[in-house]
Symmetry: C2
Subunit: 322 residues, 2 copies
């Protein structure tokens, strides 16, 4: 949530000169994205988001992320198009950093989603999965089961227990979950980080899915599980809202019914989703000094959600739970 | 440069419901302003800046700042209008914090201003001074000469010398400058913080003067001196650019010729302007822990500018210096 690079007016105008978007009229650094700098840009031709990639991103992955936006957008998914330069490039280099210009989409990220909103988010996710099937580029999921173990081991038992005494045993849970991980569920492009702040809505309609910088090829049902774990709990008290979770799955299945194997796997996939956020948050917690620019997120929030999924099993995903 | 308050979609919609601006379509936290949270808002009716006042602002001062925008805007100065609520209020209270909705103005803050841009900024400042003369509210300058002494004393000789060995003697300079401070120059509303990042430009034209939260009633020539000290030096090497400084004064005098007493006072007023920033930056430096959210600004930058004004005298302000 910061602008890391101070891009002056002259540099900004030079950069936009590479594009056929008309004269620059306004550029506001926006507090969006955790590891990139972002500006809301206005030119004579419209509005755009300019993203400068600061860290945590492999330059070699950029064509996957940026071409994916074009692919999904061309398949009527509500994702922003990548604006290409006059020369046809999807990104430019500025002082050794990559920068991309992306379509601006209106909409507000819901903080307390309604069931109808959750239904429509499920639908948009399913349509994204269907549209992603014929995307020609591929990218492995670098945050799969082995990575959770690696990240938690990097934290160390001492580091984990300093954050919370209940955290070290997540290493065992991660190893057990990785062993049981289903290897052959149907795959496509997945977003893998579709928290409410990565969704823009106008009323009940999904006007945008954004921040595809964790997108990869992996099991579609895992992406639904990630989204379920991200949307169905009240952020303050971690209470599960069955109406939201149920609507999300229903909305998804309205466009892409789950196979039996996928449905059976959902509880384990959701525990894996929780482990992915537990592990990355724990590592960020240890690597981020208190009082630094970036807000640290509590890994324990997802320890509680993991327990919920382990206890509730398949019932967590039924449209009308008891 | 941060968004301090996390204002969710529901709270944002509730807040905007107090205004007659149509349905909310987008809200992006923007990295602008040092001590307030700001959002760029889009509604069915247009774009606005929403500012939430976090600290450093006296609630009792808000009507001065917000009514001033309306007054100057009604007098054709390029400043954003304050949007009033359906009930006619210029600000609302949200969870104990004041928030105001302000007109969005296009434009880019110049990082390397041209002489023509400086000329037009001088002109806009003069027109603001002329328009401010019949503004009925008043506010004293709380950052006048006595405040520099107070702030530097609060830093203490130890604190000052820890920042830089050359800094403690600024306490003596501040006392001497305060003693010589001209008491009776013509007054009006002054901006008193018109750095380039508080000016929006479209090409050579001033499209907006923003961030009036240091505005007060004081000597107009002091405001010109502040602007001169803020615009006429290269930020990196503190080299004086006589073309910029000269154009600024010329542009000012095209709308409001300086009286002899004002012109004679400019070198001392500019040294006072430098002391104002030296003192507040030194205090911020001491009060801001390294690695905190806010970037600390180097007080020594203005020690060097102060020396320049002391040595150069009136010649610093002549349109065509030798």
């Amino acid at each position: 949530m910061a602008v890391y690079t101070d891009l002056g007016a002259a540099a900004m105008e030079r950069l936009l000169g590479e594009y056929d978007v008309g004269a620059l009229r306004s550029a506001k650094g926006i507090a969006e994205g955790v590891s990139n700098s972002n500006w809301l840009i206005e030119t004579a031709q419209g509005r755009f988001i300019l993203t400068m990639y600061e860290r945590r991103i492999e330059l070699g992955d950029l064509p996957y992320f940026l071409d994916l936006l074009d692919h999904l957008s061309a398949h009527d998914c509500p994702v922003p198009r990548t604006i290409h330069t006059k020369r046809g490039d999807s990104f430019v280099m500025v002082d050794g950093k990559a920068a991309a210009l992306i379509e601006y989409l209106p909409g507000i990220s819901p903080d307390r989603p309604s069931a109808e909103q959750a239904h429509n988010v499920g639908g948009a996710l399913a349509r994204m999965h269907l549209a992603g099937r014929d995307f020609e580029k591929t990218r492995p999921n670098t945050l799969g089961p082995q990575s959770w173990i690696d990240m938690l081991e990097e934290c160390g038992v001492g580091g984990l227990s300093e954050i919370d005494p209940a955290l070290p045993k997540m290493l065992t849970v991660a190893r057990q979950t990785a062993e049981r991980w289903p290897p052959d569920l149907p795959q496509s492009v997945i977003h893998s980080d579709l928290f409410p702040d990565n969704v823009l809505m106008l009323g009940e309609r999904v006007s945008g899915m954004i921040d595809f910088y964790f997108a990869c090829n992996d099991a579609m049902a895992y992406d639904l599980a990630v989204t379920h774990a991200a949307w169905s709990f009240d952020a303050s008290d971690t209470a599960f809202d069955p109406a939201i979770g149920g609507a999300l799955v229903e909305g998804y299945e309205a466009h892409r019914p789950l196979a039996n194997a996928e449905r059976k796997a959902l509880p384990l996939l959701a525990q894996g989703a929780c482990l992915r956020f537990i592990a990355s948050r724990a590592l960020d917690w240890i690597e981020t000094p208190p009082g630094a620019l970036v807000m640290r997120k509590d890994p324990m929030q997802f320890v509680r959600r993991l327990k919920f999924y382990a206890e509730r099993g398949e019932k967590a995903f039924t449209p009308s739970p008891i």
